[in-house]
Amino acid sequence: MFSLHFTVLANTFMPVQGSEIAVDVDYHYAFLVISSLIAFIILIGGMTLFIVKYKRQTENDKTAYISHNHFLEFLWSFIPFLIVMGVFYWGKVIYDKHRTFPEKAEEIHVIAQKWAWEFKYKNGVSIESAKGEVLHIPVGKPVRFIISSRDVLHSFFIPGFRNKQDAIPGRFTSMWIEAKQEGEYQVFCAEYCGTGHSNMPARIRAVAPEAYVAWLEEKKANTPVDPNAGNEMAMKGASLYKELGCSGCHTVASDAPKLSGPSWVGLFGSKREFADGSSVVGDENYIRESILNPMAKIVKGYAGIMPPYVGRVSDEEIDNIIEYIKTLK
C-alpha cells in the first residue's frame, strides 16, 4: 500500500516522466516531501502543543530553569546530519546518472541565441524553433545534446526529462536524455537572457526509431539547397547574420514576424525614411555606417536600441554581410 501511495505522491505535481531518470528523480522528490512533512509535524506540532499547554496564567509564573540537555542536543544534531548525508548520497547517485554519457548516443548540436533555439543534426538538417519546427528524437535510444550559445547565457531546460544545462558563449556544454515512451515535451530557456527570455520555447517529439530515421531522411531531402551556394561571401554573411546576433532584431524572410529592428528584405536599393525626416537609398555606405554607428540614422518607427558594433566586427565581415543583404529580395 505504501509504495502505491508513494508513487501517487511522487508525480502528482511533477510534469510527465519522459525517461527512467525522471522516475528516479520523482521517487527522490517523494521521499524528500514525506520526510519534510514528518519533520515539519514534529517541529511545528511540538511548538503548537507547547503554546497551548504552557499558556501564561499569571504575570510572573514560575518557569522551570532548564538551561540545556546534552543528550537531546546530541540527538537533534547527529540525526539530521545522518539524514542530510543520506539525501546527499541519493542525490549524487541520480546526478551521476545524469552526467555519465553513454557511448553511442545520437549527437544533436543545440545553439541558443537571443530568443530562439537552433538544432543541427549530424547529417546537416537544421531545425529552428523560431519557425515553429519540432525537434524529433528516437524513443529508447540515448540522445546527447552539445549545447553552445551565440550571445548571452541561456539554459536548455526540458522539464519532462528533469534535466537542464546552461548554454555558455565561447564554450560547449553537454547533457543527455533517453525518451522511454513517445510523446511531445516542452523546452524552456531557464537562464535569464533579456526581453524574449519567456518566449523562446521549443518542442521535442519522441518518435519510434524507424519513424525517426524516415523523418530525418525526408527532412534531408527537401531542405532547400542554400540559394547563394556559389556566392562564398554571402554564405559567410548568412552565418555572421546569426553569429553576431542580428537575427535577434532583424528578419530576413518577408513572411517572418516583425521584430524590434527593421527587416533586411529588399533593404539594398530601396528608399529608407529616417526619424529625422531625411532619407537615403540603401547602399554599401549606409549599411556599413548603420553597423558601426547605428545611432547616426534611425529608421522611422523604430527605437534606437541597437548596440554599436565598432571594434567587434572587421571590414571583411561587413562586406560579407552586405553581400548577404544583396541576396535578400
Binding site: 528523480v25 515539519f40 503554546i51 530553569y65 544534531s77 542525490g91 548571452v152 555558455i168
Partner: protein, 536 residues
C-alpha cells in the same frame, strides 16, 4: 542579580532622553548617537521597503494572466530587477543589523555608544549615497539584468548597469563599516563582568553577521568594479568574446552572495532568540549551542556557494563537493529550531503581536529550511534550478524568516525606541494578513516550480495560469498586512499610550534603562553578574 542602584521603575529619562536632548534637523543630521542613527536608518530602509514592495505587487499583477497584462517584457524585466536589487541591497541586508543592531546592541552591552560613533554616521551617509545612486536609475530608464548582474548579459545590455553597480558597491562599503564597528564594540565595550557567555544571543547573531559582512563584501566590491570595467574598458575578464569566463563571474558573485543570505537571516535568528525567551518567560535552552551554531552557519556559509551553479557549466566534482558541504548548513539551523522549541517547553507563553511574528517565523522558516535541503541535493536541483521552486524557497526563508523577525523586532523594541506602546490588536490583525497572504502567495509557487515553470518569466504556458492567479491574490494580502503594520506604527506615534521601562518583562540590559533611553543609555554603567535570560 543585576546591581544597578535604581530599581525597575525608571519611567522616563526626562529631558535627557535621546529624542529631545538636542533639537532641530541639523542635530539629527550631524548626530553621532547610535540611537538616532538607527532611527535615520529605519526611515531610509522602510521607504525602500515600500518601493520594493510596490515593485513586487506590480510583478505579481503582470503575472496575473499569461501574455501582456499591464506592461511590456522590457518593463517587466526592469520591475523584476528593481524588486530584487532594492529588496536585497537596500532593505534586507541593512534592515536588522543597521536598525536594531545600531539601536539595541550598545545598550545590551551596557556601553555608551558603538566603538567608532563618527564612523557610524559616515556609514549612514555612505549608505544613503549608494542608495540614491542606485535608486536614481529608476528615473534614468532602469536596469534589466536581474539583481545578480550575470555577465555577459550585464555587459551587453544598453540599460544603465554601471550606475546601479556603483550604487551597490557604495552600499557594500557602508555594510563593511557597520560590521567593523559592531565587531570592535562587542570585543571592547562590554559592561564590566559581562563575559562572552553572558551577552544576549542577539549580540552573538550580530557578531557572526558582522564577521561575514567584513569578510565577504570586499569580494563583491571587486566583482562589481570589474563589471563596470568590463562595460567601460572592455577588460575581458568575464566577457566570453574577449576570452573571459562567465562562470568565474558566478563564482566571485556567489562567494559574496551566499554569505550575504546569511547576513540577512542570522540577525533574524538573533531577534527570535530574544522574542521566544521573553514571551515564554523561560531561560533559553542550550545557550552555547545557539551561539556556536550562529558561528557554525557563518563558517560553513563561505564554502557552499557552488550550489547556485550546479547546472551552469560547473564541473561534476565541484558539484558533488558543494552539495555535501551545503548539506552541512542544515545541521546548525536544525539545532537552532529545536533549541527554540525546547525553550518553550514548560515556559509561560503569552501570544502578544511580537510573539505571533516569532511563531510565524518558526512556521515559515521550517518550510524554507526543509525546501533548502531539496535544492541542495544534486538530483533535485538539476530539475529545480531557476524554476519557481527556488523563488518560493528563498522567499520563505527571506520574507518568512527575516521580514517576519524584523516586524516582530520592530513591535518588540518600538516601546523602548519611542516610549509609546503599539496597539496589540492592530499588530495581531497585521500578522493574520501577512501570514495567510504569504502562504497563499508562495506555497503555489512550490507547485509551479515542480511543474517546471522557469524563473523571471514574463509570459507562461496557459496550464500555469490558475496557480499564478492564486499567488497574485496572496500578494495583495501581504501588501495589506504590511500596510496595517505601518498604520499601527503611525497610530502609536500619534496616540500610543506611555510605555514603561520594561513593558514585556525582558531580562536583557536594554530593559533596565528608561524608554526612550537616556542619551548615554545608562546613568551609571551597569555591572552584570549573571546570564542574560535568568527567568527563575
Amino acid at each position: 542579580m543585576f546591581t544597578l542602584t535604581q530599581a525597575e521603575q525608571i519611567q522616563d529619562a526626562g529631558e535627557k532622553n535621546y529624542l529631545i536632548h538636542e533639537k532641530g534637523l541639523w542635530s539629527w543630521l550631524t548626530t553621532v548617537d547610535h540611537k538616532r542613527i538607527a532611527i535615520m536608518y529605519m526611515i531610509a530602509v522602510l521607504t525602500f521597503f515600500l518601493i520594493g514592495g510596490i515593485f513586487a505587487l506590480l510583478i505579481r499583477l503582470e503575472l496575473f494572466t499569461p501574455g501582456q497584462t499591464i506592461v511590456s517584457p522590457d518593463t517587466y524585466n526592469k520591475f523584476m530587477t528593481f524588486h530584487g536589487a532594492i529588496m536585497v541591497f537596500m532593505v534586507i541586508i541593512p534592515a536588522i543589523p543597521a536598525i536594531f543592531g545600531n539601536f539595541v546592541l550598545p545598550i545590551m552591552l551596557g556601553a555608551k555608544d558603538v566603538a567608532f560613533p563618527r564612523l557610524n554616521l559616515a556609514s549612514w551617509y555612505i549608505f544613503m549615497i549608494g542608495a540614491i545612486l542606485a535608486a536614481s536609475t529608476l528615473f534614468l530608464g532602469g536596469v534589466d539584468t536581474g539583481w545578480t548582474f550575470y555577465t555577459p548579459y550585464s555587459i551587453s545590455t544598453s540599460t544603465n548597469v554601471v550606475l546601479t553597480v556603483l550604487g551597490a558597491f557604495t552600499m557594500g562599503m557602508a555594510s563593511i563599516l557597520t560590521g567593523l564597528n559592531f565587531v570592535v564594540t562587542i570585543h571592547k565595550l562590554r559592561a564590566p563582568g559581562q563575559t562572552m557567555s553572558r551577552i544576549p544571543l542577539f549580540v552573538w547573531a550580530i557578531y557572526a553577521t558582522s564577521i561575514i559582512q567584513i569578510l565577504a563584501t570586499p569580494v563583491l566590491g571587486i566583482t562589481l568594479l570589474l563589471i563596470a570595467a568590463e562595460r567601460i574598458l572592455g577588460v575581458g575578464i568575464f566577457d566570453p568574446t574577449l576570452g573571459g569566463d562567465p562562470v568565474l563571474f558566478q563564482h566571485f558573485f556567489w562567494f559574496y552572495s551566499h554569505p550575504a543570505v546569511y547576513i540577512m537571516v542570522l540577525p533574524a535568528m538573533g531577534i527570535i532568540s530574544e522574542l521566544i525567551t521573553t514571551f515564554s518567560r523561560k531561560t533559553i535552552f542550550g545557550y552555547t549551542a545557539i551561539a556556536y551554531s550562529s558561528f557554525a552557519i557563518a563558517g560553513v556559509s563561505f564554502i557552499v556557494w557552488g550550489h547556485h551553479m550546479y547546472v551552469s557549466g560547473q564541473s561534476e566534482f565541484a558539484g558533488k563537493l558543494f552539495s555535501v558541504l551545503t548539506m552541512l548548513v542544515g545541521v546548525p539551523t536544525a539545532i537552532k529550531l529545536f533549541n527554540w522549541i525546547a525553550t518553550m517547553y514548560k515556559g509561560s507563553i503569552r501570544l502578544d503581536a511580537p510573539m505571533l511574528y516569532a511563531i510565524g517565523f518558526m512556521f515559515l522558516f521550517t518550510i524554507g529550511g526543509l525546501t533548502g535541503i531539496f535544492l541542495a541535493s544534486l538530483g533535485m536541483d538539476v530539475h529545480f534550478h531557476d524554476t519557481y521552486f527556488v523563488v518560493a524557497h528563498f522567499h520563505y526563508v527571506m520574507v518568512g524568516g527575516t521580514l517576519m523577525a524584523f516586524t516582530g523586532g520592530l513591535l518588540y523594541w518600538f516601546p523602548k525606541m519611542f516610549g509609546k506602546m503599539t496597539s496589540d490588536t492592530l499588530g495581531r490583525i497585521s500578522w493574520v494578513f501577512v501570514f495567510t497572504g504569504f502562504n497563499v502567495t508562495f506555497f503555489p509557487q512550490f507547485i509551479l516550480g515542480a511543474m517546471g515553470m522557469p524563473r523571471r518569466y514574463y509570459d507562461y504556458l496557459p496550464e500555469y495560469t490558475s496557480l499564478n492567479q492564486i499567488s497574485t491574490v496572496g500578494s495583495w494580502l501581504i501588501g495589506l498586512g504590511f500596510v496595517i503594520v505601518l498604520i499601527a506604527i503611525i497610530k502609536a506615534f500619534i496616540s500610543g499610550e506611555k510605555a514603561s521601562a520594561n513593558p514585556w518583562g525582558g531580562k536583557t540590559l536594554e530593559w533596565k534603562t528608561a524608554s526612550p533611553p537616556h542619551y548615554e543609555n545608562f546613568e551609571t554603567t551597569p555591572v552584570v553578574t549573571e546570564g542574560p535570560y535568568e527567568y527563575r
